[in-house]
Symmetry: D2
């Protein structure tokens, strides 16, 4: 386990929970006190402040990278060269070039690689994606993925050089990959339109951004990310298809409402901004945020010699889309997604399908009106004229 | 009452409800059968298929225009020239030029004019806007207004020439004006980025569109409109401010859930796409969609010689923003909002406010962490370096 | 208007809202300052501290009783003897005997009488009851009506002699009558089982109670009332029928969520217990609590010479059920509802209906199981044996 | 694993999920085909139709009883006599006498025993109970636990002799134990009032029941159970304390809403009654229903030589409360809970606590009213008179 911060802690919690057999053997942190503390808290046999030592430790077959973004490349290089499997937190790189380098490293060295995109593994997302694959929504038209909260925990996130950007790099990577899972990973992301601004925080990076990602199928993936949100963590997805709709709320409204006039002794709820009044706890955060299913998939895939659901290649695509977002927020126009290494399909959608009504008309809409009759909106095949008609 | 269609019916329902004294005296419709039917259903003394006759009827002091978009200008001209007060359904014009002509007509003739933007008068919106004005959210950063359903009732909506466009013209006008109420009508809409596509329906106009409207204060208003939504009518607003958040759901989830295995005899719920299973009726649609408060404001303003909350000028601003949307969806870049007649402020925001922490640092974030200590993210005033510190 | 307190104020607000023509001409209050203040605030021409003067005022044709419970009988007697229509707030009496006396007074004098049971007129309730009448839920099995908040506004509520009881008299009357509307007013309430306790407040009356009311149809109406609830006003109904289910939330979760870190200047939300954090305002309280539809029904009925939906007779039935509740909470067993004057049906239900499956079996349940087959649970008509079978 | 039915399958799913090391070695079912099928599906090495063989199998150290209620005693006796740890599904017995016999068996033989009351282990329940223990709600006043669905899967449930009852035995056991966790397992359940009826199904047992369980602290636990509910599985808990409130929804509204006009190929959602329209799937049913945390607690306790959270003693208390419920539903009055073996406290609450306001008054209520002043409701210590006062 490389990293003794917030995310590393969450990972160890998930890895060691529910009697799982996979154990963290060594923890590395840049700070000695932090490394020691994490090792003690979780009963991890070894700790070190030397990354190379951690990676090459003989008890280690898998390296989990839970480090700040600017250390990803170095850590992946070490792990790949040591021939160890490597699982890495999001985003893969600070940009597509870095991501590509990491992808090439793991592939060159032939090591197992997993992209720890937990939000694609939330129980709701997994079931919703399955329903979409089963056809419950028909062709996907639009996905909205939103992540907004009052800002990250550690200093390096706020520094553009170290992290690679602001809210887009921190949160957009989740949203982009969630949408890819619904739209289909095989479908090419074509171009991007992005607004990004620094509205509240005295920083250089964006603290709020919205983007539209257009796919070759015609589907639009919209992401909304912010470090200025008030009220907790807003983590929602919406999916529209020709035949249906999905709304997911992962955090703030999950069927757990608590009002307390007095708060709790010795306890402050995570990410909640208040300790009294109406609060909305999540029952099992580790499971709800996807960590349980993510590590199950990673280690099962490793055992079975298969690829996990999320790989370095996915991380690379996400970085390429984010690069286009930053470019678009500067140029103020749609920017193409540059993917030198595209492994999916090159099919492009032909637009809406015409539904034949009779030999002269296409059907636009059929609706029952209050008096019980059925009203049709039809289009003349030749003239293009639109008429209404009672069935 | 000019117009015997769906919206005219809704208006009469609201106008004649709850023992209100204001009565519709004449109904005009292009079709005789429709005019007759409406007059009978609502006990209206006169009907006609001659618009001029309706407008100039001696019992009439106020003309309510509930006609298709392409007839708005003609109707407004007649009413203004007859010196009658005129209330008009949304959108004001098919474009800003038409809207400006109508605005000039009512102002030249000095007649009372109201813009029947019902969704700015929903009880939730009125209360939420009041809270925003009372400072509950601090400065407004972002508004999302969404209206999506399976498509409009009448043929003319689907014809770009007659309506002026597609889902933007039909639904975007609502969303734009809702956002203006939160952000402040005095704040100038500066530029627009819009995606619009025809994803499902065999029509020329857009059946799905998303736009970002940037205001001089730095606030972003996002609208999402669609005629391809499945599951009823999705009518939601979200507002983010520096100090708070508002979520409104006007239609699909308002605290009324019904499951029926058998449906109801002789009745089909409006806009609902199914008659059995889980349904989500709205208690009082007329009130929830804003008609009650809208007509109360209009007639009270008229009686008191004041302007109503929504006037033709608002309709004109909305049309100007929609014009920019159509332009942007073609040019694929941000387009300026052209407002020849701007009556608001020209102030422009100076960006984020710096919060002084001590003589050397600005405060970025303060957060209590699980062990109860308070963590600060600070920025050095001189070097710009970002550090974290335990309080 | 008799009464210058909280409820009288709410009534006047509703009566004078939305350009309604019916105006309050005289306001009576026991306190001069309060009478004056209400008259000024609402522009009411006359005020008095002499109830007789108010009732007999020549401009008055309708007396609205918004007084504490212990003054209801006196006010109704005056109004009835003066030959004026009388509308009275809930509960009708402090017990069934008082209620019966009032019912007899208005009937003897032949005056119009309405029972101002606002919660039976909420938009959601009206629509839900209509769906039930249309058969959407089949036969009604169970109704839960719940009203709970942190306690009433005025001193007299807390005094058992003046009010007639505690949370049951204050809130149970609403819940009982809501349930009657779903189950059918024609169906006889047979017996009652009630728990009532004083859990928190230093008073003699109950501050928390739960009761089951059994109807002749076999339906059970459950009410839950409390003055100890924390978090605002919990106002919910649930209805179960053989074919469906209804859940209504009238107040705390209606699609309006607001988070504010700072609160609002000069404003505190009604019944909300906190001014910051997550708050759940109601858009239009007057409409949502039923006042609009209630007064519309009352005055329309008066104009048309019909009975309103809720009359003194309904108030009497409710009081009789509450009497049985108090008796049961003492005796700790089911107590019959004593209705000397029953005007509904005397039909009693024969229990569950047998659904014939084939000549030897009744059908208990049919369910599709995950592998797609249909499983049946059947009962042998002769032996009564229960078996399962794959269709 | 004794039992090859629905619940056994769910257990194996949970036990074998997420790389857990505890494996089912032998599966027993009364039917050969079912035993074989389960063994194959889950890769279990051995299967048998001989319960004794399964229990005494050398690879087995723990017996999991997932059998119909009427086989519990026999299975527990076998396991206890074989000296094996025993985990048993709910309810423990068909009545308290059976439960007590099983409790005595496991204690006499000194074997580890766990009561598989999964709904006390749902993530939401665990976190909510922790908040209650941390004082967030103050003293608990009332718990409502509700479980309702369209009826169980297997024939034996519907047969009173085999199961021990109807909806109370099937679902009430969950609700009772959930409430005990909030109120405190140390607090004695004193008496019970219960209504039970057969409203819809042609069976002898109750298909709908409601009960109030009174505890020595004065708290009331209310359960509502039904096999007649339409719309899926209604699984909700509500908790009221002096200082706060908790609402939990475990199944039908958890932040996952799906509308599908077409349904899914080859898939029908579990317990959902419809395949199209608005559906409300649960992301991870196994986790949400408590199986993950339940088995983790059971096996961790076993490894650490401790008692799990839920033991046979808890099962016995639940059965005793259900016995009182059946008695009360016959006698139509409150019935004492007979607990020959009570291991908790015998403390009884002294009723509401008086809050001193000044030397002459107790405080009943303090409330801010719309004009910003604070209104107090006070009680005279000597006369008991209740007055209101502006602070």
């Amino acid at each position: 386990m490389l990293g003794g911060g917030f995310i590393g802690d969450f990972y160890i919690h998930a890895l060691h929970g529910h009697r799982r057999p996979d154990r963290v053997q060594v923890v590395y942190s840049r700070s000695e006190s932090s490394a020691k503390k994490v090792a003690e808290r979780h009963g991890i046999p070894h700790w070190t402040t030397d990354m190379m030592e951690a990676v090459n430790h003989p008890d280690i077959d898998t390296v989990v990278v839970a480090l700040p973004n600017f250390l990803h490349l170095e850590a992946v290089r070490m792990a790949a060269e040591a021939g160890k499997a490597v699982l890495i937190t999001k985003p893969l790189g600070r940009n597509a070039a870095e991501a590509k380098e990491m992808l090439e490293l793991v592939e060159k060295h032939g090591v197992f690689h997993g992209y720890l995109e937990d939000l694609c593994y939330t129980p709701k997302t997994l079931k919703a994606v399955e329903s979409v694959k089963n056809g419950a929504l028909g062709d996907i038209l639009w996905v909205r993925a939103r992540e907004a909260h009052p800002g990250p925990h550690s200093d390096w996130f706020w520094n553009k050089e170290l992290s690679g950007g602001g809210a887009i790099i921190d949160l957009g990577c989740h949203c982009i990959e969630i949408a890819r899972n619904y739209i289909g990973k095989d479908v090419r992301p074509v171009e991007v339109m992005c607004w990004a601004d620094t509205q509240v925080k005295p920083i250089e990076a964006e603290d709020h951004a919205i983007a539209l990602v257009k796919y070759a199928s015609g589907a639009i993936a919209q992401f909304e990310v912010s470090w200025c949100f008030r009220g907790g963590m807003d983590l929602r997805d919406e999916v529209m298809g020709v035949e249906g709709t999905i709304f997911l709320n992962h955090f703030l409204r999950t069927g757990f409402d608590m009002y307390t006039a007095v708060g709790e002794e010795d306890y402050v709820a995570e990410k909640a901004e208040s300790a009294t009044g109406w609060l909305f706890p999540v029952g099992d955060e580790v499971n709800s945020l996807g960590y349980d299913f993510m590590f199950t998939d990673m280690f099962n895939a490793m055992d079975e010699g298969k690829q996990p659901m999320e790989t370095f290649y996915d991380g690379y695509v996400v970085n390429a889309i984010m690069d286009a977002c930053y470019k678009s927020s500067e140029s103020k126009k749609w920017e193409p997604v540059e993917l030198e290494d595209w492994r999916g399909s090159d099919e492009v959608s032909g637009g809406p399908q015409l539904i034949e009504f009779d030999k002269d008309h296409y059907l636009i809409k059929e609706e029952m009106i209050p008096d019980g009759t059925v009203k049709l909106i039809l289009k003349d095949k030749v003239t293009g004229e639109i008429i209404q008609k009672i069935k």
